[in-house]
Amino acid sequence: MLIDTLQEILQSLRTHKTRTVLAVVTVAWGVFMLVVLLGAGRGLQNGVELQFKDDAVNSISVYRGRTTIAYHGNPRGRSIQFDNTDFDQVRDNVDAVEYITARYYPDSELTVSAGSISASFDIRAVHPEHLYLEKTQITDGRFINDRDLADKRKVSVIGKRVMQVMFPGGDALGNYLHINDIAYRVVGVFTDAGRRGEEETIYLPISTAQLVYGAAEEIHQMRFTVGEASYAESQQAEQQTRQLLSDRYHFSPDDQRAVRIYNNLDSYKKITDLFFWVRVFVALVGAGTVLTGILAVSNIMVISVAERRREIGIRKALGATSGSITRLVVVESLIITGVAGYLGLIASLGLLEILKSTIAENEYMYQPDVNTAVVISVTLLVVVAGALSGYLPARRAALIKPVEALQPR
């Protein structure tokens, strides 16, 4: 009986090819657009999040600057320098500090060599906790530690690219890297999930670098994370830092340029806020698309039922019950929406797969993807709504007296 019903329906679908194809295309397009939109939205978000992946999201960076406001007899235009005491004070007095490091950049003209190979890389002198500031993954050996700092050891931790260039044999650990004739033993190799350039960096203990490159106590910048602190707490940490430095160097606490403080959470929050609205937008457009699909199917079913009014009358005169008429139309719209939903789903997921494999790491779009549960439930919604939209006109037509349905109009 079920197969018989299906055969009846397939015959009717074949008879009304144009209408069937149009209905299928409309619904399939709706589902396709929705899934692609959701996927693109996700990809956009992944792309931006990838950028943040480089650094700890909750970090605050403190850079040297130049005063722009005259303060307590000091003229404007004075440049502010940091030293080790600033580092200690921020570490000890700013409440929210979780991990903290200073950075000192030795002269950029340094040549790095090992055996016969020479090259030039970024060199950063840091504290051990720097490990947590960048998303640095040690793959071999270890990072700079407290003993290195205390003993001013000549050791280095190198990025994967540095290792590939300087030690093509791969055995970097324990070997020596010469930076302008001073030999540093390699104690660790790292990769970085963020920007590629990170892996072309060499880390040195900050105390060693200060001694070797004649910087005495000088540091160039400070970075710290604020742990699980809220956005408000991180802003407070920013404020405390500025106040502390303002007291030490006598510049106005309102002078934003004397010391530049960059709170990563600021932009992270901006981006998350933006993505909230992107999601709202995608949801609205998606809902609109799905609604259009549903309306299209109901429209088509209303027309289909109206066109078949006479056929319904004939069937009833021959002994069809209202229920069997309704069932015929509902199953027909179920088949249309089901097939269409399936096609739309396959096509859109296929497109996303292609995009996923062809789009390289890119800050605008990365790994476009969709939540399977969302997609399936939306498709089911379209199918069920399609069936319902078939049900209402079918029910109405099925309840018309046969004699009225049979009348030519």
Binding site: R310, I314, L318, G319, T321, K401, P402, V403
Partner: protein
């Protein structure tokens, strides 16, 4: 077989009520061959539609084969139409996307008979009306007379006790009309009750009882 008493039916034509049937009382016995005659608007088609449970009536009572027809559920009405009554219409009312044999088999679909079996039965009935060779043709490929014969095969396939025909020859030429009437005479001879609505006296003359309607009322009822 059919017992109508005081059947009244009023239509609304726009805002004006039109009395289609005005207290019709009528009995048709099993095996009769009846013609219902009358001019256009006399109520003859309405009467036939009420007999066939295709239409409702306002008052009076209708008993078909000793069963009152006034309080049937949708499902019961469908069953009666399917198993008890065969319909033949002036405009054939074939389903255009189905072939002749599928059209004939359709009533059996509603009895839950499997496709292969009902198509085999339908072929027998097509044979009976002389159209076995046209079984796979769509209605648009059939002439008027052929279409009506297909429709008759469809009406007969459930072996109904009552055959109702509304102007069955209205759209056909004289010669074809003869063939159709011969078919009716044949099934009537086999014991089937046949009621034919017609405005053609030549058709009415070939039946055995002629009922005349005018303005929804019984004008005459004569056995030939």
């Amino acid at each position: 077989m059919i017992k109508l008493s005081n059947i009244c039916k009023t239509y609304l034509m726009g805002d004006n009520p039109v009395r289609a049937l005005d207290a019709i009382s009528l009995t048709v016995d099993k095996g009769e061959f009846v013609a219902v005659q009358g001019s256009s608007g006399s109520g003859k088609s309405t009467l036939l539609n009420i007999m066939g449970i295709l239409d409702s009536f306002d008052s009076g009572s209708y008993t078909l084969d000793d069963t009152p027809m006034d309080n049937l559920t949708q499902r019961q009405a469908a069953q009666y139409r399917n198993r008890f009554i065969g319909f033949v219409f002036q405009s054939f009312n074939l389903i255009h996307h189905k072939s002749a044999v599928e059209n004939v088999a359709l009533p059996l679909y509603y009895q839950g008979i499997k496709r292969r079996k009902r198509n085999a039965i339908a072929m027998e009935y097509l044979e009976r009306v002389g159209l076995a060779a046209r079984a796979d043709h769509k209605p648009s490929e059939l002439s008027g007379g052929q279409s009506q014969r297909v429709a008759i095969a469809r009406a007969l396939i459930t072996q109904p006790s009552l055959l109702l025909a509304d102007e069955p020859t209205g759209a056909l030429d004289t010669q074809t009309s003869e063939q159709i009437l011969d078919l009716f005479k044949g099934v009537n001879a086999d014991g089937m009750t046949v009621v034919v609505v017609t405005h053609e006296t030549e058709v009415a003359e070939q039946t055995r009882r002629v009922i005349n309607l005018r303005d929804g009322q019984l004008l005459s009822d004569q056995r030939l």
